[in-house]
């Protein structure tokens, strides 16, 4: 049971990260390679507000969300928007990688190199369930990740902004002709992604410790989770994240730690070959759907 909760908690961590990647991909068709750094800034600023300014946990995360939104807008304005039409332009790979390196180095200078002990929610309180110690923080990670996923789906499916996102995702040029300001929609998606990254950072940091390198190991897995679920499909991001967490948890128990990632990525390569559009890209889940409905 304990292993299952750990695996689900890790899975929800990947899911949140993959969701934020998917939000940007769905409207721009680019992968935000600076995403791991944005998550890290969310964690480090939350830590700074808690430890130095003595803010309470919730207020610190809200402040970190505001900072991350501003940071994501800055990234969009400087590393993406300036490049113009991204359809046949791959310069964003370099600019976003560059942004990531700059952010990491600035964080190193400001916060130092030493990992910090980020507090767990409810002071790391344990609950004894099914003969195992389950941390409230881990349960809340799963609950918060699912809640954010549901809330995002609600916005996408039921609001006029959501319809605009779907329109920009499906036919950006047509959306523009129809009067939808694509740039504003994309900018808003970057901002939402930054906010989700701040929450992800604050939830992940107690497990990874807060440091400027905290997402180096998990960042690549978040991209993998997004791919497995179906890039740009936010429901898929969740399924990909949870599937990856479960896979990692159980593979880790069976084989030596050094081989764990190799085996996991081998399985992922197999899934991507069999289902190039990810799990939710499979026909069985998309009967009669048009592309705009797959976000």
């Amino acid at each position: 049971m304990q292993e299952l909760i750990f695996a689900l908690a890790n899975g929800s961590m990947y899911a949140l990260m993959a969701l934020a990647i998917g939000i940007i991909y769905s409207t721009t068709r680019i992968i935000n390679f600076a995403h791991g750094s944005v998550i890290m800034i969310g964690a480090m600023t939350s830590y700074w507000f808690i430890s130095t300014v003595q803010m309470n946990y919730i207020l610190a995360i809200l402040s970190a969300i505001v900072i991350n939104i501003l940071l994501s807008i800055l990234i969009y304005k400087t590393a993406v928007e300036k490049l113009g039409d991204l359809t046949n332009n791959s310069s964003w790979i370099v600019t976003l990688f560059g942004a990531s390196i700059i952010i990491d180095n600035i964080a190193r200078m400001i916060f130092g190199t030493e990992p910090k002990a980020f507090p767990f929610l409810f002071n790391g309180m344990d609950i004894r369930m099914f003969g195992a110690n389950i941390m409230v923080h881990e349960i809340l990670m799963i609950v918060i990740a699912i809640s954010i996923g549901i809330a995002y789906q609600f916005v996408i499916q039921k609001t006029s902004f959501g319809r605009a996102v779907r329109a920009v995702s499906y036919k950006p040029d047509t959306a523009r002709i129809m009067g939808i300001r694509s740039n504003v929609v994309v900018l808003t998606c970057f901002a939402i992604s930054g906010g989700v990254a701040a929450i992800a950072g604050a939830l992940i940091a107690p497990l990874t410790f807060a440091s400027y390198t905290m997402t180096y190991a998990v960042g690549i897995k978040a991209f993998a989770a997004a791919l497995i679920g179906g890039l740009g499909n936010t429901k898929g991001a969740f399924i990909g994240g949870i599937a990856l967490g479960l896979l990692e948890g159980f593979v880790g128990l069976m084989i030596p730690g050094g081989l764990k990632d190799a085996v996991i990525f081998l399985i992922m390569i197999f899934v991507i070959i069999v289902l190039p559009g990810g799990i939710l890209g499979a026909k069985i889940f998309n009967k009669g759907n048009i592309a705009a409905e797959k976000i």
């Binding site: 292993e3 890790n10 030493e114 910090k116 110690n133 990874t208 880790g252 730690g257 050094g258 764990k260």
Partner: protein, 397 residues
Amino acid sequence: MKRNTVLSLLLSVLVLLAACSKEAESSSSPKEIIIGNIGAMSGTSAVNGKAQTQGIEIAVKEINANGGILGAQVKIVTRDDEADPTKSKTFMEEIVDKEKAKFVIGPTNSTPAAASMAYLQENKVISMIPVATGTDLISKNNPYAFRIMPSNEIQAKALVKIAVEEKYKRIALVADTSALGVDGIAVMEKTLKEYGVEPAAKVTYKSDDPDMTPIAQKIKEANADVALFWTLGADGAKIVRSLERIDYIDKLQIIGYTGLAMPNFRELAGPGANNVSVVSMNNWAVEPNQTELEPKYWEMYQKIIDQYGEYGKRDTNPTTVTSGYEAVYLLKWAIEKAGTTDTDEVKKVLENHASEFESVFVNEYAFSEDSHEGFPLEELIMVKISEMYNGDLYIKN
């Protein structure tokens, strides 16, 4: 014509003799002794380079104030290699070729140190290594390299020695899958075999993995009573937390190598840190209920505090600072005993007479013709990771 040839030959011989006598004179009574100081003074390993430099600065100030070495003032040429092997090698060439240094201290990181090693041997430059612990740096291929800190191999052997002598029955070996981890676990396993003991478990993991529960489970399943951690601080702290979560930490003693000992380990690992010890230098750990080290080590510690402040104001480790300090004094002593800066002569002194050196770091250096590892295995002891005296000195178990 014949007369001219004879004169030319005579002149050549005279010039050659003059050059030889000048060389001999410059080695035995140099005007200035140049020592290179190279290491990471910025970037993630900056604290090591800073510590080495602080130790060197204290030593050089004292030596120059007391007449220098063989009457010559010591000049230090410092370069920050940022732990980059390419930069390190370029700086090393500059220090040796342009600055004409015959002695260098550093580099602080093992990979940059390895990058310059062949060049230093070709040029017969004596390199004192006060910080880098990579096992391969000291070998028969590197006859001019001498190490002050305990190498990875010595630390791995010490971990096993302590576990066996403490009569633990089921020993688990834990390491990450990096080159450092593979090196460490291999030496620990080999040393265990020499004691005739089979490890209860060999557990490896990928560094920086957020979930260390599988590692903790494997230690528990092996029913280990001690785990030897060849892990870095943050990873080790995660494993300790996981052991606590699965209710096994109270049944286990953990002993780690120096890489485990990061300043905020207790904060990261939580209450489980009470069961964690690391290997450390005997002379630089305070006896329980004592407030000072032995006098000469305490005096050195006070010098560091006077110069660079108490722990908190100073972010460097006093043992690393002392290792840098000791590197300069070892060179001074060896040059003066040899009566020359000729590196072959200095090397012979270090190899054959190191026991005569009055150290503020160890009881007696172990340098010999066979091994240029200076730190004696028996001077590594077990200390509690979670308790520090004055913020930066370990307390003996």
